[in-house]
């Protein structure tokens, strides 16, 4: 391989990797905020994203709604459905058993319900293409070629993350969310309504998944199984330590970039194993993940 080809591949791999990585980062963030506050991983995260993608598809394509209506509506639906699932179903499960295993099983159930709904509605059987919300014309960044859509994806993901981190760090609601994650008993003693906080955390996680869905759907073929892409969000979360929010973001970019570099330098058939090689490398060097603190994934 010549040096110039090497540089071209490197630049292209990093550019495409950052775009996909920003979406993985969003998914990882959605997973980790739920894990931090409820100590159970949400295995419905992928299908929450898939469900949101189909809601958007329905509004944009079947109902011909303009994006300015369809996008906010999709986000609201994702918020409401996720918050209600936590408030009506998970709250009952937590109250009657409290064991994380039962919570995980409930999220698996939710995941099947969502997939069943999409299949039952008859829209999930044939693969569909999602209308891109920005132009797919290419532009060059140095030697790397990216589309306008790629830039929109990356920009929107970064903005979403920035807004989320600001909320989490500086608002009263964010502080209450952190308090519930850190010490739920103490949070109750200072008067935090933890049932409400759990619902809001789930709602927020639904919103982030919906944004990820809107961003990624134009780049993949839509099927009722598209939620499996969230595996890469889990991979990103693991790399970041599973309970670290900045870790989730960095993990997302690590996965995105390594996937693309492997695809270019090794083989496109090796792409699927890249994330798992990345996980193994990170876990060998730092078993607690890049940003993991004292408590790593000990529950479940």
């Amino acid at each position: 391989m010549t040096l110039s080809l090497f540089i071209l591949f490197l630049e292209q791999g990093v550019a495409s990797g950052l775009v996909m990585g920003s979406v993985y980062a969003l998914l990882a963030l959605a997973i980790v905020i739920i894990f931090k506050t409820s100590e159970a991983p949400n295995f419905a995260q992928g299908d929450m994203m898939m469900g949101a993608a189909y809601v958007a598809l329905y509004l944009l394509v079947f109902r011909k709604a303009p994006p300015i209506v369809a996008i906010p509506l999709t986000i609201v639906v994702a918020f409401v459905v996720a918050a209600l699932f936590r408030g009506l179903v998970l709250a009952k499960v937590a109250k009657s058993s409290g064991s994380p295993v039962n919570l995980v099983i409930a999220t698996l159930g939710f995941s099947y319900v969502l997939r069943g709904l999409v299949r039952g509605a008859g829209v999930g059987d044939t693969p569909r293409t999602f209308p891109p919300l920005a132009s797919t014309d290419s532009i060059m960044i140095d030697q790397a070629s990216v589309t306008i859509l790629d830039l929109v994806i990356f920009g929107a993901a970064i903005l979403t993350m920035a807004g989320f981190f600001w909320m989490f760090a500086y608002t009263k609601l964010g502080r209450a969310m952190r308090a519930v994650g850190m010490n739920p008993k103490a949070a109750q003693l200072v008067g935090v309504n933890i049932g409400r906080i759990h619902m809001l955390v789930w709602g927020l996680s639904g919103v982030i998944s919906a944004i990820a869905a809107l961003l990624i759907s134009p780049k993949i073929l839509m099927t009722a199984d598209m939620g499996s892409i969230v595996t890469l969000g889990f991979a990103a979360a693991i790399i970041g330590g599973f309970n670290s929010l900045p870790g989730a973001v960095v993990g997302g970019f690590v996965i995105g970039v390594s996937e693309n570099l492997v695809g270019l330098f090794i083989s496109s058939r090796a792409i699927v194993v890249a994330p798992f090689v990345a996980i193994m490398l990170v876990l060998i060097v730092r078993p607690q993940g890049l940003f993991g603190g004292r408590t790593s994934i000990k529950k479940v």
Partner: protein, 237 residues
Amino acid sequence: MVDLLEIEAVSASYGRIQALSDVSLKLQEGAIVALLGGNGAGKTTTLNTISRLVPVTSGVIRFDGRAIERLPSHEVVRAGVSQAPEGREVFKDMSVRENLDLGAHVRRDRAGVRADLDKALDYFPALKERLRQKAGTLSGGEQQMLLIARALMARPRLLLLDEPSLGLSPLLVQKIFAIIARLHADGLSILLVEQNVAVALAVSSYAYILENGEIALEGRSEALRNDEAVKRTYLGG
């Protein structure tokens, strides 16, 4: 005079373990009442039934005349009851300042919160220099002070204190009890759980002694201090 807190025949259990049976207790506005007893007697459980972390199986808890034993825990805080729990339950990865701000979570009056922060730091000057420090890195005594200060930030009418002297040096115990006396002088009502019976009987006006989840003895603190049985069992002679 109307009782600020009135617990009537309250029972509570953890699964099959009966932790409280028919506990009754009263506290008048402005008083310090002590709740004493050995390890596992049910003192913490009693406070937690008031704070609604532990459900009651029967009985009534009234605060300021209103039944609170079915309210959610945040409503109890809103009603004016704050607890400084045992066991260093701070938000350890947050700064001392954030811990104190969380103490005021149920309040909307910004100016009042600001004033109460100054007041809390006036009671506990040691926290003043540590506002930006993570709560988990404070010493045991400092964490204990933070817990009380955090409870005060809700501007409670009734403060529930769970073993504030546990694990502290004699000097710090003195300091904490001097502050408790000051809070009392400033008009706060306090239900004080303690194993340090001598000190608790000295600051309180009335006391209850729990044994195996039941009230075994109660009376004016002064009288209990001179009671032969209490002296023998709890005051070491």
